[in-house]
Symmetry: C2
């Protein structure tokens, strides 16, 4: 089977023009079929502030009301997605931007939560991804670039977590490709000590992950990212890497199981 | 050859939710391969006002500075394009949204004008359209939905006239399809008397067009639209129709030449 690379980036990489440009050069240079899934960074929050649209959070998670969804669609599916596509095209990479509604590529269900109404948020699951169309696009030589806006099939756009979307796309394409999922961010990988970039873990398995969560070395946003990543390994993704945006081939490789202990 | 329908809409049809919904039902129901090109209506101007981005005009034509381009990309490629795609998907139409940068489908050149700097505006021409990819997308069963944002191939997005873009796409695909280009707007077609919707001209050729321009019956925004439309007929497009958004099969049919005079 051919190898397919799925790269996910977002946050600080998207916010910092130099870091983004460096990442896009790296992505454009990666060989073989590939897909990019991008988050949004702070641009949507900044636009909401300018437009006077209050942002509500519940335990750190954003509530997506109708105005906030419009802003997310404008910023993620419009500005960020098309800027990335135009940049990649100028670098000789045949990028084409998509949201999940386009060609019904990623259909999600509005999140139902017993206590909290997250609003117009769609959760991607195993049946979300339109494998046939994605395969056709890859076969046509395109490099799909996804923002994390999806739809429910009933005419409604939904805001979706970009990490989850990248993992679901990688899992769905693991039938046909040896998939490698790379989470690109501003650190060198998973660190034993968050304050020390040299404390990089070159490899990690669920046992070490549990240990580092218990010690508090891994916390906050890294937890759902790594939960997703380990789940993807169980669902057919061949390799998951967490690395600095412009340094593929480095970083932390996630493994289903390690033979020898690290230390 | 198969018939391919290219529909263009914009302005008041996009601004009015009921008119847009009615148009999208009509478009979704049209048989055979088809493409939609949409303009933007007033949403971009309204967003610019909210954000305090002054809009400059020269003889009625908008100057697209960097902030205005960002707004156009957010509104046209983001909000309007993805809303249309999600609606069409819910109506069983396999729509996928594109701007010209996606897959390098429509590449334009920044407008150079001896007196006026129109800013980040791209003019589409005969070499702008990537026929190969458009054919692949149509063969994959997709219904491409274009906003009129393009790119120059050097990483820059450009604002483009949607009427011209629709005409260039129709001309480019006339090698492979019998193309029918339909301009959908809020009137019943080309009128002899702008104030009287019953004064519809069912057919029009360049001679009648010249006559109606001279008499002032056709003026303003209709002139570039019809200039484009007649030029498209000379360049391989089989049929051009100007009609009310939700009434295909009615309206004014443009002909290269008419045998008999109308009146």
């Amino acid at each position: 089977m051919k190898t397919l690379h799925i790269f996910k980036t977002g946050g600080k990489v998207i916010e910092d023009p130099e870091m983004l440009e460096s990442f896009l050069h790296t992505f454009a240079a990666a060989e073989g079929p590939k897909i990019l899934v991008h988050g949004g960074g702070k641009t949507a929050t900044e636009l909401a502030a300018k437009l006077g649209v209050p942002q509500q959070f519940n335990e750190g998670r954003r509530i997506t009301d109708a105005d906030t969804l419009d802003i997310a669609v404008m910023v993620y599916a419009g500005l960020i997605n098309k800027r990335i596509v135009a940049s990649l095209q100028s670098l000789g990479c045949n990028a084409a931007g998509f949201c999940g509604a386009d060609g019904n590529i990623v259909r999600t269900k509005k999140r139902v939560h017993p206590q909290i109404d997250y609003g117009l948020v769609g959760d991607a699951g195993p049946d979300s991804v339109n494998r046939k169309l994605l395969n056709d696009l890859l076969d046509a030589g395109l490099v799909p670039v996804f923002c994390a806006i999806t739809h429910d099939g009933n005419g409604n756009l939904l805001n979706t977590n970009a990490d989850t979307m990248a993992a679901e796309i990688a899992c769905a394409l693991s039938e046909r490709y040896e998939t490698e999922l790379t989470y690109c961010f501003e650190h060198s990988g998973v660190l034993r000590d968050k304050a020390d970039e040299t404390s990089l873990l070159p490899k990690m398995d669920p046992a070490i992950y549990a240990e580092l969560k218990a010690s508090g070395a891994i916390s906050d946003g890294m937890i759902p990212k790594l939960d997703n990543a380990f789940a993807a390994l169980e669902r057919g993704v061949k390799k998951v890497i967490v690395c600095r945006a412009n340094q593929p081939g480095t970083g932390t490789t996630l493994l289903r199981e390690m033979k020898q202990q690290l230390s």
